[in-house]
């Protein structure tokens, strides 16, 4: 380890935030860019499955809540792209990576939203899992990322409560609504568990990222925590978690649960989920069709700037 690296690691160890202009190892920078931009991309792609129900939300209040939520995701995307930009990459570069299929995003958004209950389930489970991942990251070593996480976590936990509330309405509703709720839980449970990533034994980079404090807990710890938190909520709603192996382990004080189907996970990651193509195409289409608008805004700003300059002269 070079003296610079040593000093850097010391600061990290002492929980002093690393700020954009400070020296940092190239690998730290690269790993962070990848991590933050993946997170940003997930927010952006995540707008699609939920956006799918905005025009069909069942009441004006639910419509407003959902629209505001999807809007928040756009906002999170923005914060995160900004955080990534402090590491020396532009939003356009990151967008191009997303559009070209080079960059990854959270695999769960490659599942379709088939009923209104999916919107509730996403809020409850997907945002629940996201928060579980993100809360520790509020303490991560990189300042801009850590601060973005603080804002995001606040909003996410609001979303999660709204999702659970919507799920409650369904679970206490008509038999058809209850069935819709159970069906959504059946479909979103396992993909939610996959959100924590492969088992730590399989996970690359984990050890280094934890030393750098850009990863705080292991995937398995967080997954366990999520299960422990969520199972009682499901029970409270009278819904059944679709895992025959799930049972309370009094010895550990935690739930035992079944093995995630990692084959499916890798299939979806590698492009073969139900909606991968659709999600990417929708994104690319919006980006391409918006080009002339962005160009016009730039041209107008340039003209306006030039006119102001001419007037000043």
């Amino acid at each position: 380890m070079s003296p610079e690296e040593r000093a850097f690691q010391d600061r990290v160890d002492q929980d002093i935030k690393i700020e954009p202009k400070e020296w940092m190892p190239e690998a730290y920078r690269k790993t962070l860019i990848r991590q933050i931009s993946q997170h940003a991309h997930s927010e952006i792609i995540g707008m699609q499955p939920e956006g799918n129900w905005i025009t069909r939300a069942p009441t004006l209040e639910r419509k407003a809540i959902l629209l505001a939520k999807v809007q928040d995701e756009a906002g999170h995307g923005l914060y995160l792209y900004c955080a990534a930009e402090t590491l020396g990459v532009t939003r356009d570069e990151l967008m191009e990576q997303l559009n070209s299929g080079k960059a990854k995003y959270s695999s769960i958004f490659n599942y379709p939203t088939l009923t209104w209950a999916d919107i509730a389930a996403i809020g409850w489970l997907v945002d629940g899992a996201a928060i579980m991942n993100q809360v520790p990251l509020q303490r991560c070593s990189y300042g801009p990322y850590s601060r973005a996480m603080v804002r995001i976590c606040k909003e996410e936990s609001f979303h999660q409560r709204q999702g659970y509330d919507a799920m409650t309405k369904l679970a206490r509703g008509t038999p058809e609504q209850k069935q819709m709720a159970q069906d959504a839980l059946n479909r979103w449970w396992w993909p939610s568990l996959m959100m924590f990533g492969p088992s730590d034994a399989e996970s690359v980079h984990s050890a280094q990222s934890m030393r750098w404090k850009i990863k705080i807990n292991t995937n398995d710890e967080l997954r366990q925590k999520f299960v422990d938190q969520t199972v009682p909520q499901a029970e409270y709603l009278g819904l059944t978690v679709p895992d025959p192996d799930l049972k309370w382990n009094a010895g550990r004080g935690q739930y035992d649960f079944g093995e995630v189907n990692w084959e499916e996970f890798y299939q979806v990651i590698s492009g073969n989920g139900p909606c991968n193509r659709q999600r990417l195409r929708t994104r690319v289409k919006a980006y391409e069709e918006g080009r002339w608008v962005r160009d016009a805004a730039d041209a107008y700003a340039a003209k306006k700037g030039a006119r102001a300059k001419a007037q000043a002269a």
Binding site: M47, T55, L60, A166, T174, D295, A297
Partner: protein
């Protein structure tokens, strides 16, 4: 002659339905707009409009007195009973069309709400005052986009001009006064819409000029929305909007 209560109900439906349908159209952009900033901004406007929908339609339901709230009115009427102007139900088209529709509407909406803040009906005045703050910002924003696109690139200029031309025929309806409006004028609840035309045109001309665009000539006006005579677009909006309420009639959400 229509009773004052019936006229007021109709009038409130018009206000509420305008907000509902335009909010719906804007929400269709969510996730598909030209930049993240626009996803945020368009959603903001849509959210304001959904909020206004709730206020107007709940009041409409109160006035009607048949136990219908905003949701019942939004989700359980068919197209012929909707009272929005034709302008707001027009398809999004490209971003220029959306902005032209928005600018035409916002300017009128602003002028109308400003008048309605002086309504003799304090419930109307209150909702209008709340809405006016929001719409002031909507107008600022849509006006800014007309300038940007009009005076941006050659392509954006052309698209913006086409959009202004295409939607122009739906603006006449905004200023027409029928027996519902007359009743509102008589009771001091609402303004004479024709008096909004001149300030509206003033803003249009000034903006078009600054944006290097040409405002279409006054011409034949498409009308009917206020009386429930809509374009063929509205039915499809309602098919999506109302699906869940129609498919699960006794559910609460």
């Amino acid at each position: 002659m229509m009773s004052d209560q019936a006229a007021l109900f109709e009038y409130l439906l018009r206000l509420g339905d305008n907000a509902l349908i335009l909010g719906h159209r804007l929400s269709e952009w969510c996730g598909h707009s030209p930049a993240l900033e626009e996803d945020l901004a368009l959603s903001n406007v849509a959210l304001d409009l959904i909020g206004q929908t709730q206020l107007w339609l709940n009041l409409a339901g109160d006035v009607e007195g048949r136990g219908r709230d905003a949701d019942k009115l939004a989700y359980l009427r068919d197209a012929r009973d909707f009272r929005n102007v034709l302008l707001v139900e027009q398809p999004n088209g490209d971003f220029a069309a959306t902005m032209a529709r928005q600018f035409y509407f916002d300017a009128w909406h602003y002028l109308l709400l400003r008048e309605l803040t002086g309504s003799k009906d304090s419930r109307i005045a209150e909702i209008a005052a709340k809405g006016l703050k929001e719409v002031t910002y909507h107008l600022e924003r849509s006006r800014e986009w007309v300038l940007r696109l009009g005076d941006g690139t050659e392509e954006s200029h052309e698209r913006m001009q086409t959009a202004l031309d295409d939607l122009w025929m739906y603006t006449g309806e905004l200023f027409e006064t029928d027996e519902v409006d007359q009743a509102m004028i008589r009771s001091g609840m609402g303004p004479d819409l024709s008096t909004l035309h001149e300030p509206w045109l003033g803003l249009m001309h000034a903006t078009a000029e600054e944006a290097t665009l040409t405002l279409p000539q006054p011409g034949w006006a498409q009308r009917g929305g206020k009386r429930g005579m809509h374009s063929e677009h509205l039915g499809y909006i309602l098919a999506d909007l109302q699906f869940l309420q129609r498919a699960y009639p006794n559910a609460t959400w």
